[in-house]
């Protein structure tokens, strides 16, 4: 070989082997990550993989991790209790994927889980990622239970594999709209949403309900899921002097938004949905968060049948308090396991009909699905920030 090419050849070999080594190492690393409950399966046990998808990076990484923890807790308990399904001893393993709350990444992750031949999926967290991903799961016949996606479109697609364990935004928006008009007496309402499927969907439902109640929507402003500066739209809203400001979006942005509202001297009641009803909102908004209202599907943790005990278990295992949806993720996982036990099989085709007709007493309440996959008897609770903590106000619906 000519001297000129020898370096190139050597360089290529070095590069290719480095790549190969790196690929092998990262693949090894990944596998260990997915082992979930540690240890290797013994010969008689059958390993069943459960998929979890949620945002593990980004503004709501704390919520995604919370869901993952809920599923992990359920699986650890199932493994510790020695689950037997269809005569076989089962060991569950979780494959947790990060969808970054990005709808495109969500479909990539969904395909990954389908290809990994998981027995079921708990996910995703955001409506924006859950809805496109549900098509992939439906095509693969893979049951999917979402612990937190509330947009109505998710169960309106006619997918027999789509379920959720909390009330949807049609209910939540309606309750919020009625509360705003009847209880808070708002006549001029300004609405902001973050243009995500969840935020937009909830804001639309809220608008419909508020208008039906006789209030006037004086303006509709938009932001996106990554911004932290809202001074421009808040200033514009301030000029229109609303009684109430409704935000359809998540806590990571509602927090700074509250601060900016107080800085601008915008005097309007602040109302938001379940994405804001978190501890993170209290941390981010600080003292400016006082008097903000928010709703959350279901009942407060201490009113849930298994709420207190679950909170203690969670704190013990993860050394931090529950963020928001962990009890729902926990219930979603246990409902799926219950369906598998009832059907005597972990095969999606076999346990899917059982899942549709299941009645499972979870920590959040009784889990039963209607024919669309929504939870039957879902309720919505309202909270207000008082003394730097979320104070429970009332519950609508349920039973």
């Amino acid at each position: 070989m000519e001297i000129r090419y020898r370096g190139l050849m050597r360089g290529t070999i070095v590069a290719v082997s480095t790549f190969a080594l790196a690929a092998m190492l990262s693949a090894c690393g990944k596998k260990e990550d997915q082992s979930g409950a540690g240890g290797t399966a013994s010969a008689i046990e059958r390993v069943v993989k459960i998929g979890h998808a949620g945002p593990l990076t980004g503004p709501i990484a704390h919520l995604g991790k919370d869901n993952e923890n809920g599923v992990k807790l359920a699986l650890e308990e199932a493994n510790a209790a020695g689950t037997v399904i269809g005569g076989e001893k089962i060991r569950f393993e979780m494959i947790s994927e990060d969808d970054e709350a990005n709808p495109q990444k969500g479909t990539v992750v969904a395909q990954k889980l389908v290809d990994a031949k998981v027995a079921g999926v708990i996910g995703h967290l955001n409506s924006g990622t859950t809805i496109p991903a549900s098509k992939l799961y439906h095509d693969a016949g893979l049951p999917q239970v979402s612990p937190s996606a509330t947009n109505v479109d998710y169960t309106n697609q006619g997918f027999k594999t789509a379920f959720r364990v909390m009330a949807n935004d049609a209910q939540q928006g309606k309750v919020l709209g009625e509360y705003a008009v009847k209880k808070l007496g708002a006549k001029k309402i300004a609405v902001i949403d973050d243009r995500s499927a969840y935020g937009k969907g909830l804001a639309d439902q809220f608008e419909m309900a508020a208008k039906a109640g006789g209030a006037q929507i004086i303006t509709r402003e938009f932001t996106d899921t990554t911004k932290t500066d809202f001074t421009a739209i808040l200033t514009s809203i301030k000029g229109k002097q609303p009684d109430l400001l409704f935000y359809g979006g998540m806590d990571s942005q509602a927090g700074p938004m509250m601060k900016q509202i107080k800085n601008l001297g915008l005097k309007a009641t602040y109302l938001a949905g379940d994405g804001v009803q978190t501890a993170q909102f209290l941390t981010l908004a600080g003292p400016e968060g006082e008097t903000a209202y928010a709703s959350s599907p279901g009942v407060p943790l201490d009113q849930m049948p298994g709420g207190k005990a679950f909170a203690e278990k969670y704190q013990k295992m993860f050394n931090q308090p529950i963020q928001l949806y962990a009890p729902y993720a926990y219930d979603a996982m246990n409902t799926m396991i219950a369906a598998m036990k009832k059907a005597g099989s972990v095969d999606p085709a076999k346990y899917l009909p059982e899942l549709a007709g299941i009645e499972h007493q979870g920590v959040t309440g009784m889990i039963r699905f209607d024919q669309k996959g929504d939870i039957k008897g879902g309720s919505i609770s309202l909270y207000q920030v008082k003394g730097s903590t979320w104070g429970y106000l009332e519950t609508v619906g349920g039973g």
Binding site: T57, T223, T231, T235, L264
Partner: protein, 309 residues
């Protein structure tokens, strides 16, 4: 009318920060012809380091007044960012001085990704709350509200920019920087230590960036590992808008971009009759950039890049 004034004030606050960060980009581009993509991440690191110092001091239970804590945090942040930028220049950019322009550009993007992920590993993925140091009671000026912090931001940025202009125009170092910016080879022949001047440029830019980072984090009370990216991008846009390589241009571009964003987001909905909502805020800002560059490619005040003989 007071709403317009409010939007203008908001825009000035936003714009001052953009201007401060834009100066870092413009100085480096003027001398090296390199877009230092890592600068946005240096700003972020400044904010995160300041946050860590403030939390550490609060955790130690010292009864120091908050101003001292803030001062200590800012000084530490400046120190860390200066060292960081110096190292980046030495390790990543200096070896590529003679390389074709694409190599340092890709390297800069690489350094940016590296710093972002490093910050994610060190500080985690969640949004951190930046402690409140200055009181948040708003003052009323002609119907518009402005808080103490916002006044401080505008004042600090103005002071730093004035200081920089004085440095560049009335000191020996400044003269050497201007000479290097005009023609590095000839400046070297005239006895200017090019390497030291380039390092000084990076370091000064980083110090300003650190202050900007702390100001931004304090303004929104939020700091997180990806806050530098968009800020850096917008600041670079502002630098180009005003004329890349031109210090006055960076300042003007920054302020202008802040004002356009603020007024655009506030009024675009009304102007287009609800057709375009306020989420087109960024679209508005970049549209203005495109228009300016089409009509005046060298930016508003004209670009000043080194002549490469």
């Amino acid at each position: 009318m007071d709403i317009f004034l409010q939007q203008v004030l908001n825009g000035l606050v936003l714009g001052s920060v953009y201007a401060l960060v834009a100066l870092g980009y413009t100085m480096v581009y003027g001398i090296l012809g390199l877009i230092n993509f890592a600068h946005g991440e240096v700003v972020m690191i400044g904010a995160m380091v300041a946050l860590t110092v403030m939390n550490a001091m609060a955790g130690m239970g010292t009864a120091l007044p908050p101003q001292i804590v803030l001062a200590a945090a800012v000084v530490t942040a400046i120190g860390v960012c200066m060292a960081l930028s110096f190292s980046i220049e030495r390790v990543a950019y200096r070896p590529l001085r003679r390389a074709p322009r694409l190599a340092p550009l890709i390297t800069a993007i690489g350094v940016s990704i590296l710093l972002q992920n490093l910050a994610m590993l060190i500080w985690g993925r969640q949004y951190h709350t930046f402690p409140r140091i200055v009181s948040a009671t708003p003052h009323n000026i002609g119907g518009a509200s402005i808080t103490d912090l916002q006044i401080i931001i505008i004042a600090v940025c103005a002071a730093i920019m004035t200081g920089l202009l004085l440095l560049v125009h009335y000191t020996r170092l400044g003269r050497a920087m201007r000479a290097t910016a005009e023609n590095p080879t000839v400046a070297g022949l005239m006895g200017v230590n090019i390497n030291r001047i380039i390092s000084a440029t990076f370091v000064i830019g980083a110090a300003m960036g650190a202050v900007a980072g702390v100001l931004v984090a304090a303004n929104y009370s939020i700091a997180h590992y990806s806050m530098g990216f968009t800020l850096g991008l917008k600041a670079f846009t502002a630098a180009v808008l005003g004329g890349i390589g031109n210090l006055g241009g960076a300042m003007l571009g920054g302020l202008l971009l802040g004002l356009i964003e603020s007024i655009g987001a506030g009024y675009v909905g009304d102007l287009t009759g609800g057709f375009l909502g306020s989420h087109y805020q960024d679209v508005f800002a970049f549209l203005v950039l495109v228009l300016v560059l089409v009509l005046r490619p060298t930016g508003l005040l004209g670009e000043r890049v080194a002549e490469r003989a």
